[in-house]
């Protein structure tokens, strides 16, 4: 964490299939927001958005990172990964769409609700993805 002119940056590496860490990035982000005294409704939205982003990177990508920037007015969350990208973003955004394999579904993932949850919790939501490159999700949650 660094603190320049009231801006806080948090950054976490998310490793592929590393479920033992089980939501560590989102848990730590939530802890920081609570310490900053941020409104519990906003903390909840950020917790949901970062958890779903973290799980998607761990389950569907080769690995990536989550970067959170807290300014006076917003919380910005970027989740980016190193591939393999999403072929059809429109389809991926639909509630219930999931390519999670059976062994992952058995653990309770694969409802196809992660991306819709992230969108619902954000004031601004953008996703871009290139097949064989990677995916980047940017979310902005307003503090006011």
């Amino acid at each position: 964490m660094d603190d320049k002119s009231g801006v806080i940056n948090l950054e976490y590496e998310v490793i592929r299939y590393d479920f033992s860490k089980a939501g560590q990035a989102s848990s730590e982000i939530k802890k920081v927001l609570k310490q900053l005294g941020i409104n519990s409704n906003i903390v909840r939205k950020v917790a949901i958005a970062t958890y779903e982003a973290e799980m998607n990177i761990a389950i569907h990508s080769l690995g990536g990172r989550i970067i959170v920037t807290i300014t006076e007015s917003n919380i910005n969350i970027s989740a980016l990964d190193y591939g393999p990208g999403i072929e059809n973003i429109k389809l991926a955004m639909e509630e219930g769409f999931s390519t999670a394999p059976n062994n992952i579904r058995e653990l309770g993932f694969g409802a196809g609700m992660g991306l819709p949850n992230m969108k619902r919790c954000s004031d601004v939501f953008e996703i871009c993805s290139k097949k064989n490159k990677g995916t980047k999700v940017d979310m902005k949650i307003s503090l006011n």
Partner: protein, 112 residues
């Protein structure tokens, strides 16, 4: 309703994350689901969560959503990781031989 009362009335087995000497938390509702991102979408804080999922991620979900406790139904075997994590982050984790339906019926009778 106090968690301690629910443990007693439902005869729950205490697995981890619960310290009866500490302030007794309240449960204010019940949520039954085995799909994690549906719990992320729809549960409310202080809900008791009834599930048959026992993977360590359930603890992260309960902690992030500030649920009051997890009850593992159907006597499902719980991963060691999950137990360790529940103690680490103080998420009360209980277990029962009853089905989710039976547990929910009893909670309903108690007025939760």
């Amino acid at each position: 309703m106090q968690i301690s009362k629910i443990i007693e009335k439902l005869n729950l087995e205490i697995i981890a994350g619960y310290d009866k000497t500490k302030e007794d938390n309240k449960a204010e509702g019940v949520f039954i689901c085995d799909l994690l991102s549906l719990v992320m979408a729809k549960s409310r804080s202080l809900d008791i969560w009834i599930t048959i999922q026992t993977h360590v991620n359930v603890i992260a979900v309960a902690s992030l959503m500030e649920l009051s406790a997890i009850i593992i139904a159907e006597d499902m075997e719980i991963d060691e990781d999950t137990i360790v994590k529940a103690d680490e982050v103080n998420v009360p984790l209980f277990k029962s031989k009853l089905s989710a339906y039976e547990l929910a019926s009893k909670l309903s009778e108690l007025g939760v």
